[in-house]
């Protein structure tokens, strides 16, 4: 079976600094894949490269076998890849309901329609309501996104990301800054919502990573030094030295 995501020899340079060097990554269909690595390793940059936010200097990215590097973010999104942002990135003046609904519209085929009443689209309404239920924000549906609490904004960020029904979901530190209880809730949410989809997640909390991921890749200085099952990663001496060592102190 073709991999969901295939990154081949990708390099990204800002000026003459190589932030990503010879990045190779293969993520199978339906896999839950975690990317870990120290601060500034290039995890978010990797997300940006895959989702089309920035273009690789060289190398290629494939989604379900098709080359997507060079495509623009909305073209990649229409092919079924959706990503969240490390810093909440939603529509601040619009309500929670409208945020999620906007994320549903393209996928339900309404595109740029200006001849349909957006309130009279049953499938859009149902899907939006279901997502709100899933992210536990139904009671906050009429609140502008900019006025939500931090944890609620993070949940909305996940909601907006999965609302379009993408088959490949990429979450960049979805639980960053959350309390222990909030993290637990968010993780069970992620587990449930990405059932049957491919998940790529960047996460600093090792208990989350090892509890959730089928496979883990370790990124250090823009290069993947190890990729494997949680067991393999735990035993890998290179990882111990470069990353887990300092993390586990």
């Amino acid at each position: 079976m073709t991999a969901a995501i295939e990154v081949r020899a990708v390099e990204k340079r800002f000026g003459n600094v190589s932030i990503i060097r010879d990045l190779n990554l293969s993520i199978a269909q339906g896999e839950r894949h975690a990317i870990i690595g120290p601060n500034g390793a290039g995890k978010s940059t990797t997300f940006n490269l895959i989702s089309g936010h920035i273009k690789p200097t060289s190398g290629e990215v494939r989604l379900n076998g098709d080359v997507i590097s060079g495509l623009r973010p909305f073209e990649i999104n229409r092919r079924g890849l959706s990503r969240s942002f490390q810093v909440t990135n939603v529509f601040a003046r619009m309500t929670v309901w409208e945020n999620v609904r906007c994320a549903v519209l393209w996928a339900t085929g309404h595109r740029y329609a200006f001849w349909k009443n957006v309130d009279h689209l049953p499938e859009v309404r149902e899907q939006t309501a279901r997502i709100l239920e899933d992210i536990h924000l139904t009671h906050r549906r009429d609140v502008p996104a900019g006025l939500l609490t931090y944890a609620e904004q993070r949940e909305l960020e996940i909601g907006v990301t999965i609302a379009g029904g993408a088959t490949v979901v990429m979450l960049d530190e979805p639980t960053a800054g959350m309390s222990h209880a909030e993290t637990e809730r968010a993780v069970s949410l992620i587990r449930r919502l990405t059932e049957g989809r491919t998940l790529v997640i960047v996460e600093h909390d090792m208990s989350v990573v090892f509890g959730l991921a089928d496979r883990i890749s370790v990124l250090v200085y823009g290069h993947i030094i190890a990729s494997g099952t949680p067991e393999e990663i735990r035993r890998d001496p290179k990882v111990k030295e470069a990353y887990l060592g300092e993390e586990a102190h």
């Binding site: 989702s51 089309g52 936010h53 623009r72 973010p73 909305f74 999104n77 229409r78 959706s82 990503r83 942002f85 990135n89 939603v90 529509f91 601040a92 003046r93 619009m94 309500t95 309901w97 409208e98 609904r101 906007c102 994320a103 519209l105 393209w106 996928a107 309404h110 595109r111 740029y112 329609a113 200006f114 001849w115 349909k116 009443n117 957006v118 309130d119 689209l121 309404r125 939006t128 309501a129 549906r141 009429d142 609140v143 502008p144 006025l147 907006v160 990301t161 609302a163 379009g164």
Partner: protein, 432 residues
């Protein structure tokens, strides 16, 4: 018209009641438009109402850009003006070819003129938002305004293109000679355009425009190309601006380069911003106020632009949401039942604030007339002030200084009353 463009419109418990209120507001609007000329039937007021109607369509079209899509255009009058020229040429063509097109259809051609130019230029314009877009719109505005003086055959040079609206085929036996008939034609197009523009805010494109306004980057990650969204929004704005221009051409029976110049572009920005861009009805209020002020002030003072400037700065600084924002601020308090606790502080503030305002007006007029060598008396609330008399200067100084000191105290009281009322409203869950 009271529904915010940012409001939710999913299934609500009191949906039926809300629907009734919604259609009620529109119905009241239509009734007011029908009845207005029967109550105020002088030729002067009919002309004023006609101008206000045109200004409302124009301002609403501008808000598709500014309020809905977050595009600050300095050249929106280009579409208004081209709509006007298109309408004039169309009217003349109808007359000379004997086409069976009655006058009420002419604004549609104005709209198509505005749309055609939008389709042509805005693909490049809307590539980027923000400052880039603003600067390009300014450039296009200047370009078209100066071309209009060069291309004499199309724009008629300084004199413009004139036309005769009564020469077109009649409809319902109306000649459209009398102003009242023109008024009803404008009122009809105002209602149609306002409904269409409101409906646009409730379509997928309308909502995605809001998303592009809030966060064009993220829109790309939910499948949309913000460039296409901005382009489509711009085309709609150009179309409705063209309708407004067509109405103006019918009303004045002329189109000239002033229609598409920077002053006209500035006025629509001014009206829309003062009215408030966050609510659909904001630009309506702004257009009414600005047209009314324009008509009223120009006849009583030579420095009316100065007052516009002061009002604009005041709104930007103290109420960036415009008049609509100021009004809608009270909605949560009204719902929470705490509005009555702030009303007394408003009433107390009225007297010193009005005194301050009078002082400022007196001061401006005194200086303007004194330095302009004009000796005509300043008429304020029926009291005549001589701009050359020291008594007037002293009165102005006392009103400004005294009014400011006392008004500030009362404004502080308003702030305190607000905080108390808002806290209660928040506790009752009406305010986030």
């Amino acid at each position: 018209m009271t529904t915010a463009t940012t409001s939710v419109s999913g299934p609500a418990a009191n949906a039926a009641g809300e629907n009734m209120r919604f259609y009620g507001v529109w119905l009241v609007g239509v009734i007011v438009l029908v009845v207005l000329p029967l109550v105020f039937s002088s030729g002067g007021s009919l002309t004023s109402f006609s101008l206000i109607g045109i200004a409302i369509v124009f301002a609403l079209s501008y808000n598709i850009l500014l309020g809905q899509t977050g595009l600050l255009s300095f050249g929106h009058a280009v579409h208004y003006g081209l709509g006007g020229f298109m309408a004039c040429h169309m009217m003349n063509a109808v007359v000379s070819h004997g086409w069976p097109i009655p006058l009420p259809f002419i604004p549609l051609f104005g709209g198509l003129g505005g749309l055609a130019f939008a389709i042509l230029v805005s693909w490049l314009m809307t590539k980027r938002a923000g400052t880039v877009f603003a600067m390009i719109s300014l450039g296009i505005g200047e370009l078209v305004a100066s071309s209009s003086l060069i291309l004499r055959s199309v724009f008629g040079g300084e004199a413009g293109i004139t036309t005769d609206r009564t020469a077109l085929p009649r409809m319902f036996g109306w000649t459209f000679g009398p102003q009242i008939q023109v008024y009803y034609l404008i009122a009809f197009w105002l209602v149609v355009s306002a409904i269409a523009m409101y409906a646009l805010t409730r379509t997928p494109l309308g909502r995605i425009s809001n998303a592009v306004r809030d966060n064009p980057e993220r829109v790309q990650f939910i499948g949309y190309d913000p460039h296409v969204v901005r382009y489509l929004a711009y085309c709609f704005a150009g179309f409705f601006a063209g309708i407004a221009g067509g109405l103006a051409a019918i009303s004045f029976e002329i189109a000239n380069s002033a229609y598409l110049g920077a002053i006209q572009s500035g006025l629509v920005l001014f009206a829309t911003f003062i009215g408030g861009t966050a609510y659909f009805f904001g630009p309506i209020l702004g257009a009414i106020l600005v047209t009314y002020l324009q008509l009223g002030l120009t006849s009583v003072t030579s420095v009316w632009q100065l007052y516009f400037g002061i009002i604009f700065i005041g709104i930007v600084m103290f109420s960036p949401g415009g008049i609509a924002g100021l009004l809608m601020m009270h909605r949560p308090l009204l719902r929470a039942g705490t509005l009555w606790t702030v009303i007394p502080s408003y009433l107390v503030a009225i007297v010193p604030t009005v005194a301050l305002g009078c002082g400022v007006v007196l001061m401006i007029e005194t200086i303007a007339r004194y330095s302009g060598g004009e000796a005509s008396a300043i008429n304020l609330f029926g009291i005549a002030f001589n701009p050359r008399s020291p008594a007037t200067w002293i009165a102005a100084a006392v009103l400004v200084a005294g009014g400011f000191v006392i008004a500030r105290l009362t404004w502080r009281r308003i702030g305190e009353a607000w905080d108390r009322a808002a806290t209660i409203a928040r506790d009752r869950g009406y305010l986030a």
